[in-house]
């Protein structure tokens, strides 16, 4: 236990992020408004990002986001076709206490663990856990609005606790 605390203390000293005060919370309930509605989505996906990082497949389809819970939630569905048919259901919830968005990507009957984050300087960054071939990895999503009617989405995995990132899902969306 003592050794654990010492390690933590050393980490805190070595890591300047601990010394900086947290930025004041802003009301981010409208930060996902840009993504509401129907968009054409062009998707590039790496089926095996660590094994074959240069192999990409493409999909085209429709992404629909419907506001729920008086704007405190988003219901996102994706229907796209490529080498296979993609059918995705995602649910995003704004936590009015932490001012963060929790992004859920249900699999089967399980809501799963959320990716959590917020928008800063025009980019939304969300961190969570995922699995790749049964191993737990970090997953990062970045949402970048490009004007009122388009945005860019990129998801990456890290197998080394965030030192390096490998993209596996990139989408460019244009409002229909």
């Amino acid at each position: 236990m003592n050794r654990f605390i010492l390690t933590l203390a050393a980490f805190a000293i070595a890591s300047p992020a601990f010394a900086e005060p947290l930025a004041p919370l802003h009301d981010g309930v409208h930060d996902f408004d840009f993504a509401a509605g129907r968009f054409h989505t062009h998707i590039r996906r790496a089926p095996d990002p660590f094994g074959e990082p240069n192999k990409w497949v493409t999909y085209d389809g429709i992404k629909t986001t419907r506001k729920i819970l008086d704007g405190y939630g988003d219901l996102e569905t994706i229907e796209a076709d490529g080498p296979s048919h993609l059918q995705v259901l995602n649910l995003f919830f704004y936590d009015k206490t932490t001012h963060q968005w929790n992004l859920y990507f249900p699999q089967g009957e399980d809501m799963g663990a959320p990716a959590i984050g917020e928008f800063h300087d025009g980019v939304g960054t969300f961190m969570g856990q995922d699995t790749y071939k049964g191993r737990t990895m970090l997953v990062r999503q970045q949402w970048t609005p490009k004007g009122a009617d388009s945005y860019h989405f990129e998801q990456s995995f890290s197998a080394d606790f965030g030192k390096t990132w490998v993209s596996n899902f990139i989408a460019d969306l244009v409002r229909m």
């Binding site: 419907r66 729920i68 819970l69 008086d70 405190y72 939630g73 219901l75 569905t77 059918q87 259901l89 649910l91 919830f93 704004y94 936590d95 009015k96 206490t97 932490t98 963060q100 968005w101 929790n102 859920y104 249900p106 089967g108 009957e109 399980d110 809501m111 959320p114």
Partner: protein, 181 residues
């Protein structure tokens, strides 16, 4: 060694005793898709020997996803006790042939333990653990259809491991004409 005939009889007896086994429930919620008015009676202080029932009125909207394997019901209601706005997310597990039921209210972002359920006793019945004032309890949620345009649901809590159940939530639903699918 069990004879083949005896084994067949045993299997039959097992089947008869387990009516919920091996039933595809994928379409259990198809008929709920659409818009409904909702009237709610809610016990404000469950498991407290209270009788402080309040009423709410509003709408319920059910949206399908994943080709029917998931659906999202959003409830918006108002009453003397305030405003209710939450979603119930139902996800189907084709292997277990059960649904999970996940609740989230506006402004929150963390799910509790999901209830699990299936068609039982003529309605869909969900059951699972929860907490009430820091104590572990059991929750039972049942929903029944009277006909294509009328349905009801009830929620019960138990703090004695399921021996006795206290009713604390009653919803009645009427389909809004013109929105039926």
């Amino acid at each position: 060694m069990v004879s083949r005939k005896r084994f067949a009889l045993l299997a039959l007896a097992l089947l008869a005793a387990s009516p919920a086994l091996a039933r595809d429930g994928l379409h259990d919620f198809d008929s709920e898709v659409g818009t409904w008015t909702i009237h709610t009676k809610r016990l404000m202080h469950p498991l407290a020997h209270a009788n402080d029932w309040v009423t709410y009125d509003g709408t319920k909207t059910v949206i399908p996803a994943w080709g029917g394997r998931a659906n999202i019901a959003e409830v918006r209601e108002d009453g003397a006790a305030g405003h209710l706005n939450f979603v119930a997310i139902r996800l189907y597990d084709p292997t277990a042939q059960q649904w999970s039921l996940n609740f989230m209210s506006a402004g929150n972002a963390t799910f509790g333990i999901p209830l699990r359920g299936e068609l039982r006793n003529g309605g869909i019945e969900f059951i699972g653990p929860d907490t009430q004032n820091g104590r572990s309890i059991l929750v039972r949620f049942t929903s029944k259809e009277e006909n294509a345009d009328r349905a009801s649901s009830e929620q019960y809590f138990s703090d004695d491991g399921g021996k006795t159940w206290e009713l604390n939530w009653i919803n009645t639903y009427t389909r809004t004409k013109g929105h039926a699918q």
